[in-house]
Symmetry: C2
Subunit: 413 residues, 2 copies
Amino acid sequence: MALIVQKYGGTSVGTPERIEAVADQVCARRRAGDDVVVVVSAMSGETNRLVELAGRVDPEANGRELDVLLATGEQVTIALLAMALERRECEARSYTGSQVRILTDSAYNKARILDIDGEHVRSDLGHGRVVVVAGFQGIDEAGSITTLGRGGSDTTAVALAAALKADECQIFTDVDGVYTTDPRVVPGARRLERITFEEMLEMASLGSKVLQIRAVEFAGKYSVPLRVLSSFQEGPGTLITVDEGDNDMEQPVISGIAFNRDEAKVTIRGVPDTPGIASRILGPIGDANIEVDMIIQNVGADGGTTDFTFTVHRNDYQRVVEILQALAEEFGAREVAGDDRIVKVSLVGVGMRSHAGIAGTMFRALADEGINIQMIATSEIKISVVIDEKYLELGVRALHQAFNLEEAATAAG
Amino acid sequence: MALIVQKYGGTSVGTPERIEAVADQVCARRRAGDDVVVVVSAMSGETNRLVELAGRVDPEANGRELDVLLATGEQVTIALLAMALERRECEARSYTGSQVRILTDSAYNKARILDIDGEHVRSDLGHGRVVVVAGFQGIDEAGSITTLGRGGSDTTAVALAAALKADECQIFTDVDGVYTTDPRVVPGARRLERITFEEMLEMASLGSKVLQIRAVEFAGKYSVPLRVLSSFQEGPGTLITVDEGDNDMEQPVISGIAFNRDEAKVTIRGVPDTPGIASRILGPIGDANIEVDMIIQNVGADGGTTDFTFTVHRNDYQRVVEILQALAEEFGAREVAGDDRIVKVSLVGVGMRSHAGIAGTMFRALADEGINIQMIATSEIKISVVIDEKYLELGVRALHQAFNLEEAATAAG
């Protein structure tokens, strides 16, 4: 008998019929003897409807009252799911974030969980009930309703699993697991049986948006085994677990290939190579609330000056160019250049820590296809390159093949 | 500076635009220096939408989870109204029933308020904030969400006014007050400046459905001055207050004329005139969950038997006739007769306690129009007659004129 926390997102509970399908699945699990806690999101479309309502009363709605409004979305779902379970004679009880007592800070619209009092939930489980919890919401010290920001239901599920010391936290989504890369780009992309938290973080932030980064971090921090599964078809999904160092040799070297289409790069050439120049360039970018991803600084062709290149989201490209042009004048820089038709492709795998030559294989595979690499960045478990966007599919397919990702991993799972 | 509790129903907050109009009105009151607590219902149509959703998951939805679902309706409104107030720089804070801590029993779907902890609300008022409270809902001892049943928002407002010792509880509706009778029947019907709780109860239960009976009872019990006003037009409305005995002489004799179209009467003739016969007849009616209104028992034409007549809601007429026919056989009664084309018309007024001859004036006015009275029932502050439904309008108009109700009351208000 295990204690399982299951989380169903908005699409999985998008209609009364889908809620009934979830109820069937939860009942089956309960009847198989497991204790089940279910975390649900608002029905798909509901949060947008509420935001639109708020906008009609206050176009800049935010803060405490927006959370009071948004929290109703999940409250509707917990009630409907608990009803559907009871109707199946599967005893159930619903809880809002405030009723569980999911204590958060008071940062409305993006609150962080501080503590979970699992007492009520544990007591209900002890009575054989399924417990249905509203995701995405909590309560602050003063008793005000808070929300965790979009996608916060994943975080609720993981935090509850940690607080209850659950055996597994299962995130049901519209995909059946984490893949070696996007199957729309590489039809032979393979579902991974397991992946480490660190790899998952790199995959997620790089565009494989299966899970909220925050939830993965949380799960990693509290070592909650996390599984991504499909709401719509049966299967084992992908298990996300801690990297048990001694298993390294059994891990496939590369877990997957992530990519991000929405990148742009900008370069400011011939700025004085003096201490603090990086912060003088990036300071105004940060002040404009623009996030910078890869950063590369090269010594310029002449002595005494340097070239500075970084990537940003494509939406921010024009603003960044304008900021840099103003700075270039100030610094007497030579020129500002940019390209908003680039993409980033990354190899991710904890195995690469103990394997030499990965970068070489990667660069050769791209060169063999005639793909020019414009920027390179590396970390412990990731190598990223920036290439022309027209080579994205070709590059990802070449890498997928070069690292034999279509074959089942030898010792994984 | 007064403390005012205002309640706005579903129609008054039915759209974002109407919520803005309410916000304007509340702000104006606050800026005039009063402390304001606002109780709101779900936006019109919302509760039905939620009930329909529940029905798709469980056609017999009831109990705890239905209340979790329904309570979201008012929660949406409090958030939107608080936002609209804040946008007008009128500081505001919303509270669900659970956040105020409106403690109820655990009778889901029709809970009764046990206690209100006004501490948070008082503290916010002390800080100059408008407090916006979700009507219709509370929380039980175990922390589960409860609802008070349809129309319960009026009760929330009155109970809050009692707990906070408010100077007045104002119920905003789609009518501008309580009238001497239905203006659709008597175009000259006059708005009453004031009416006593007892009169209001008689008027309400007899068909002038402006306020929930429960709310009026509650207000009477705790002596909360209650005012009915229009959300859509300015005006003083009608004040509902305690009957201050010494004022009797200043009261108009009759406050109003109520009527009820949905009545039916049944008679069982020639039942043995023995002790307990009434309960042997009415017992099975009550067991069938049918409410009986007027009851009259006459000695029959022959000695030793009696005739027994009562009125019920027209919807129950057929079932009552069937029950009586079975009983008639058992008792050896002579016959069961009935009429489902009757109405009840009632004069209501605390003044009639100290005025003789009211009944005489009433009966003469009806006789002058050739209207036959089929049944009569009297109480301290009410005289009701049953007449043929075709005489309803004629009878009400005749009485309205006979008691000079179109003229402004001499000393009221």
